[in-house]
């Protein structure tokens, strides 16, 4: 099956961006299954992965409906090349150790929780409904990951060394969460979405308060990576997609 090229209609692209964030982070979390540090975390990582994959499905389904070109959720997930994916670079970064996975989750959830809360006021009722469900889930992700950040920051020397390394690895990927372009702007103008930059202050306040409890320092660097939203991905991303899309590419056009 050849790859698809989704419509460039702003609302379609907007939905795909959000869906891609959720799917790719969910996929990364699912890589932990069977390999987590303890059974309780097997459950938690799997749960969070499942939530995110569920959010992605709702968003892809709605994108297909809005687009009206007959594309299914699976067409969007399995039949787009790297450059057609529009997730932020943060979510595609490899898991690394448990501290890295948790800090990536924390940075994302500290954004997504207030983002979806605000999106419940979307003028688009389907988006508002997806936001209501997603917000509940992201509140849990934020609480769970924040608890781990505190535990890892304020316990053993090794855990502290690892969480500090994780923070410095992922910090430069956080800026892209708040970015938007003309395409987003036209959706924001309709009232269907909010400007993600309006979440920045709350995000930073959350990070600061959790880091204080964890006795960790918030990085001051302002230089940030960008590219995912315009389809320019890291080297890791192609490997992720070749795994995720393997069956649909190997046995094209089949019903599963």
């Amino acid at each position: 099956m050849t790859s698809i090229s989704p419509s460039n209609a702003p609302l379609v692209q907007f939905l795909l961006r959000r869906a891609d964030d959720a799917l790719i982070l969910g996929h990364r979390l699912s890589e932990w299954v069977g390999h987590a540090p303890m059974l309780e975390e097997e459950m938690a990582l799997g749960n969070m992965g499942l939530d995110l994959i569920g959010q992605a499905r709702s968003l892809y389904q709605y994108a297909g409906e809005v687009e009206g070109a007959g594309h299914s959720e699976d067409d969007f997930a399995y039949l787009r090349r790297e450059s057609a994916y529009r997730n932020v670079l943060l979510v595609e970064q490899p898991n690394g150790d448990f501290a890295e996975t948790m800090i990536r989750q924390f940075f994302y959830a500290a954004f997504a929780d207030p983002y979806w809360r605000a999106m419940k006021a979307s003028s688009d009722p389907t988006i508002a409904a997806i936001a209501a469900k997603s917000e509940k889930e992201m509140t849990y992700h934020l609480r769970h990951s924040a608890e781990w950040v505190v535990r890892l920051g304020d316990s053993t020397a090794e855990a502290r060394r690892r969480i500090e390394a994780a923070i410095s690895r992922f910090w430069p990927f956080t800026g892209e969460l708040f970015s938007s372009d003309e395409l987003d702007a036209s959706v924001i103008a309709t009232g269907a979405a909010i400007d993600p930059d309006t979440i920045r202050a709350e995000w930073l306040a959350t990070v600061q308060s959790v880091f204080v409890r964890a006795k960790l320092t918030v990085p001051t660097s302002t230089w940030m990576h960008r590219g995912g939203r315009s389809g320019q991905h890291s080297e890791h991303f192609g490997h992720l997609l070749s795994e995720l899309q393997y069956m649909q590419r190997a046995v094209p056009g089949a019903v599963w």
Binding site: S30, H35, L39, E41, A56, D97, Y246, V251
Partner: protein, 329 residues
């Protein structure tokens, strides 16, 4: 139940004289179908047998996450991906639940997991077979979970209360998994030629190992008699195996698949499907550690355990620190 062989677990003592009267009272309660609870008196051998059986079952759930977990990142659709992730998560939940049931008998989860990782404790032989294709995920749900259900439904009436109650919940989830697995097989067998071939190939590889899941033939089973008296076991290995074959053969026919057993035939007189000779030598080899994936499975569990050690230490250190802080405050 995924318990097929004895652990080489040494007796922890208490082999002294057990009060004959307590023993008789215990057996009378079992005979009257009462449930034995954690604080009740029980024979040391009953406690040992159950600890072994429940922990082997727990280990099987946890090791069993690996073969299927292998396909979560490659599942062919988002619906399948979510369902498989949820399923593997259920297995983990079963493991946790069962370790908790085993802990009520006085052995900690840490100790039980150490027995698994050191190779001292067994887990089901079935998880030492590889899962090379997507059809294997369907075959595992249909056949492996199907066989597990046959074994586990009678355990819902096991004399030990915590195990029996755990089994009720586990069986509900397993039967959902089994239907899900069968539905994957149905989709494949109604699909294109490549999908049909994939389904048949998976059945060919899983059929015989699934029959082995019920354990050695009754003529060789080492600990059935005592377990039957204690009402831990309600049916013999061969009885359960036959039930499984009788239930599964028509399902395979409905899929249009061929059971890989040339001598399989229906016996009108008994009303049973008669199956061919099981390769018990293969079974013994897999149990002894020589299956295709024994080393990989244990290595994966050990790696997760070792690489997670600093996380568990950090969590404990944090709890200790918080406790000290609240004492000091």
């Amino acid at each position: 139940m995924y318990t097929q062989a004895l652990n080489s677990n040494p007796d922890k003592g208490s082999a002294s004289l057990e009060d004959a009267e307590l023993s008789a009272r215990f057996q009378a309660r079992v005979d009257a179908e009462e449930r034995i609870e954690p604080n009740d008196w029980m024979p040391a051998a009953y406690r040992r047998t159950l600890t072994r059986q429940i922990s082997q079952h727990a280990h099987s759930e946890i090791v069993g996450m690996l073969p299927e977990g292998n396909w979560i990142t490659r599942a062919p659709s988002l619906r399948r991906k979510a369902a498989l992730l949820a399923k593997v998560q259920d297995e983990c939940g079963h493991g946790l639940y069962l370790y908790a049931a085993a802990e009520t008998l006085g052995t900690s989860r840490e100790e039980l997991i150490d027995q698994l990782l050191s190779g001292k404790a067994k887990y089901s032989s079935i998880f030492n077979y590889p899962v090379p294709t997507w059809a294997d995920v369907g075959a595992i749900g249909w056949l492996v979970d199907g066989a597990a259900i046959m074994n586990q439904i009678p355990l819902c009436r096991c004399s030990y209360g915590p195990y029996a109650r755990a089994m009720i919940r586990v069986c509900k989830e397993e039967s959902f998994h089994q239907r899900q697995g069968y539905e994957i097989m149905l989709t494949l067998s109604r699909g294109n030629d490549e999908q049909k071939a994939m389904a048949q190939d998976a059945l060919n590889r899983w059929w015989w190992p699934c029959l082995m899941m019920f354990g050695p033939p009754d003529t060789e089973s080492q600990h059935s008699d005592q377990s039957t008296t204690w009402k831990i076991k309600r049916f013999s290995n061969d009885e359960l195996r036959q039930k499984f074959v009788d239930a599964t053969v028509p399902q395979a026919h409905f899929l249009g698949l061929t059971i890989p057993d040339a001598s399989l035939h229906y016996d009108e007189a008994s009303g049973h499907w008669v199956y061919g000779e099981i390769d018990w030598d293969e079974f013994r080899q897999v149990i002894a550690g020589n299956g295709p994936c024994n080393r990989d499975r244990l290595a994966a569990r050990r790696k997760a355990h070792d690489e997670g050690a600093w996380v568990r230490e950090a969590a404990l250190a944090f709890v200790a620190k918080s406790a000290n802080a609240s004492v000091a405050a």
